[in-house]
């Protein structure tokens, strides 16, 4: 393949505006540089994975995208809008309102609430009613529609039979699914999954992979995920970025990354003769 050809393929891929684009993202905590000059982009409809050894800065990158942290350097674009940089910083709830939803590595469900209410809570941001109409329950129509939508989402993740149980009474795997359902309830266009398969067995992991592809198509999503289960990553991702000690060391299709000697070295350690 000639160099010109490669250029055209790359152009075609980025023809539309990327859903998410990081430009030289850097996040420094005191003397520690958690993410160092990380540039990437995700196009509409892609599933992109971010991998790397523990402490590589993956979750920090997520936290920058969702505005939990304000990056110390670089820029973050969502569609055509700059959402985070040294001069622009929103509260995380605004980022969610723009259409970026996330799940958490260490599950963060609303523990005192039922499964149903967990999902319903995530619809609060799209409310049309105000405090008074809600208090006097004049928004029965909206409430009913939300309940139906929540029910549909619970059906998608297969949790309708436990809808009225406390969220924390669910087994681990189901709590992860509930987190995804709750994220979907915010009507996102970009879904960030932070280790969705953590603590799942191989069978469950394989099912989760199919599930992620299914919701991506069903809800017209773009998916950005952090994951350690290599089978899952290789199965469903379109492209992969690799971080090591905060630095991007490789990116490409699963095949390319798998054979990249730098990646292998980072994961297995370099053989010192």
């Amino acid at each position: 393949m000639s160099e010109a050809n490669v250029q055209t393929v790359a152009d075609m891929q980025t023809a539309g505006i990327p859903v998410l684009k990081l430009e030289h993202l850097t996040m420094q905590f005191g003397g520690v540089i958690a993410v160092n000059d990380f540039s990437m982009h995700i196009d509409q409809g892609e599933i992109v994975a971010l991998i790397g050894p523990n402490g590589a800065g993956k979750t920090t990158a997520f936290n920058c995208v969702t505005s939990v942290y304000q990056p110390t350097g670089g820029r973050i674009y969502f569609k055509d809008q700059e959402i985070g940089s040294g001069r622009i910083h929103h509260t995380p709830d605004r980022i969610t309102r723009m259409g970026i939803a996330r799940t958490f590595q260490n599950i963060r469900l609303f523990s005192g609430m039922t499964v149903m209410d967990n999902v319903m809570t995530a619809m609060h941001l799209r409310r049309r009613s105000n405090l008074v109409t809600q208090m006097l329950h004049l928004n029965a129509d909206e409430e009913r529609k939300n309940r139906e939508k929540a029910w549909k989402l619970l059906k998608t993740v297969g949790l309708t039979d436990v809808a009225e149980e406390l969220a924390t009474s669910l087994p681990y795997g189901k709590q992860r699914l509930l987190e995804i359902a709750r994220a979907l309830a915010t009507d996102p266009s970009l879904l960030l999954l932070d280790e969705p398969a953590a603590g799942m067995n191989p069978q469950e992991t394989a099912e989760l992979g199919q599930f992620i592809v299914r919701i991506k198509n069903e809800f017209d999503l773009t998916v950005f995920m952090i994951e350690h289960h290599m089978n899952l990553v290789m199965d469903i991702s379109d492209r992969i970025y690799v971080l090591d000690f905060g630095k991007p060391i490789a990116n490409g299709t699963p095949e390319e990354v798998q054979q990249n000697p730098v990646v292998i070295a980072a994961y297995l350690g370099v053989d010192e003769e």
Binding site: T66, V68, T91, P92, D93, R94, T96, R97, A101, R102, F104, R108, L109, F110, S111, G112, M113, D117, M120, T121, A122, M123, H124, L125, R126, R127, S129, L131, Q134, M135, L136, H137, N139, E143, N146, R147, E148, W151, A163, E164, R182, A183, A185, T186
Partner: protein, 366 residues
């Protein structure tokens, strides 16, 4: 979708209706001086304040100790605006009758009491709600102390009557319906506080069951997740703080009506602790628990445990330790027992309808 059973809600409504009917009937039959009515009036007042505190501490997860301060604002606003113009020279004798020379209807003054408390809550909320847990508690506690001093400040006298008491404003007894001879025909002095409290607590319950209620509970459960789900923390916390203070203000106005006088020095930190105690005993996160335990608390402190403060003789044997103030010792022990062994309080996070729901579920399983 499963339909929720309507029976528990129905039973709850029947119980509430029965309580109101019982209060009304008792008032017509029993002598007006009965201790029961003192307990019921003060209990209804404290119930509202306790629920308003629970809205913050139990449902939103904001640990605030400013309740007495907001009650004070409510009580003063109510008192200041309802003293009949004719009585003002007597009340404000050191301040030439005060500067305010009009009186508002009771309902309007009640609403104003709530609004004034909410307004102050909004102002202090701006800096204070940025603080977390203990720091927020200390800051709100400080506010309550400051407001108590400011109200008694002499230059404020023409409005607040300084450190002198406000009195002669309409109280609960003025709701009794009298005939031409001035004899009471229908007693309403206990039913009215029950109605005011009932309406206010009803509004809080409606709020808690709405989408906003879910948003507040999600903040309590996990702030980070709540924010990630698009809930604006600052906005919702401020909202909860203002609404809680609004009802604390109305509660303060009711306390003024109950006591028939208002004096700043009664709204001490100890009052906030009493209410906190009620909330903890009832169950942090349960409206029913707060209501129930406030009556229990008031009955115990005003009535059932009074004997602890006096010398008691059994035959010729004088019971040791019993003297003025011993009641408070017993209370402290009760608090310790509750905190150590019944940490979830009487109700935990359950509400009245849940009690019947659970029973029915168990029956179904049999």
């Amino acid at each position: 979708m499963k339909k929720k059973s309507k029976v528990p809600a129905l039973i709850t409504w029947i119980i509430i209706a029965a309580v109101y009917a019982g209060v009304f009937a008792a008032e017509q039959v029993l002598p007006a001086t009965s201790m029961l009515f003192t307990v019921l009036k003060k209990g209804a007042t404290y119930a509202l304040v306790a629920v308003s505190m629970n809205l913050l501490n139990g449902f939103t997860g904001i640990f605030s100790l400013g309740q007495a301060g907001f009650m004070l604002i409510g009580a003063y606003v109510y008192g200041i605006f309802t003293i009949p113009v004719a009585d003002r020279p007597v009340v404000y004798q050191y301040y030439d009758g005060g500067v305010i020379q009009f009186a508002l209807p009771v309902v309007l003054a009640l609403a104003l009491a709530g609004l004034a408390a909410a307004f102050f809550a909004f102002l202090i909320g701006l800096p204070v709600l940025r603080l977390k847990s203990d720091y927020l508690a200390i800051a709100t506690l400080g506010f309550a102390e400051i407001i108590r001093v400011i109200v008694q400040w002499n230059p404020m006298g023409p409005v607040t009557n300084g450190s002198n008491m406000l009195r002669l404003f309409p109280n609960f007894n003025d709701f009794n319906i009298r005939n031409a001879q001035g004899e009471v025909t229908v007693y309403l002095s206990t039913l009215i506080p029950f109605l005011i409290s009932g309406v206010c607590i009803g509004l809080i319950v409606l709020l808690l069951n709405s989408g906003y209620g879910r948003a507040l509970k999600s903040i309590r459960d996990d702030e980070i997740a709540a924010e990630a789900m698009g809930i604006n923390l600052a906005h919702h916390k401020r909202l909860a703080f203002c609404i809680s203070s609004f009802f604390a203000g109305i509660g303060g106005a009711m306390l003024a009506m109950y006591q028939t006088t208002v004096q700043a020095k009664f709204f001490t930190t100890a009052m906030t602790y009493e209410i906190l105690l009620i909330v903890v005993i009832g169950g942090v996160g349960s409206v029913t628990g707060s209501v129930f335990s406030s009556f229990l608390f008031v009955a115990a402190s005003e009535w059932w445990l009074r004997f602890l403060d006096e010398k008691q003789m059994i035959g010729s044997f004088e019971v040791p330790l019993l003297r003025n103030g011993f009641r408070l010792v017993v209370f402290s022990v009760i608090i310790m027992v509750v905190v150590l062994f019944f940490r979830r309080g009487i109700m935990g996070t359950k509400e009245l309808p849940d009690l019947f729901r659970k029973k029915r579920k168990e029956e179904a399983e049999k």
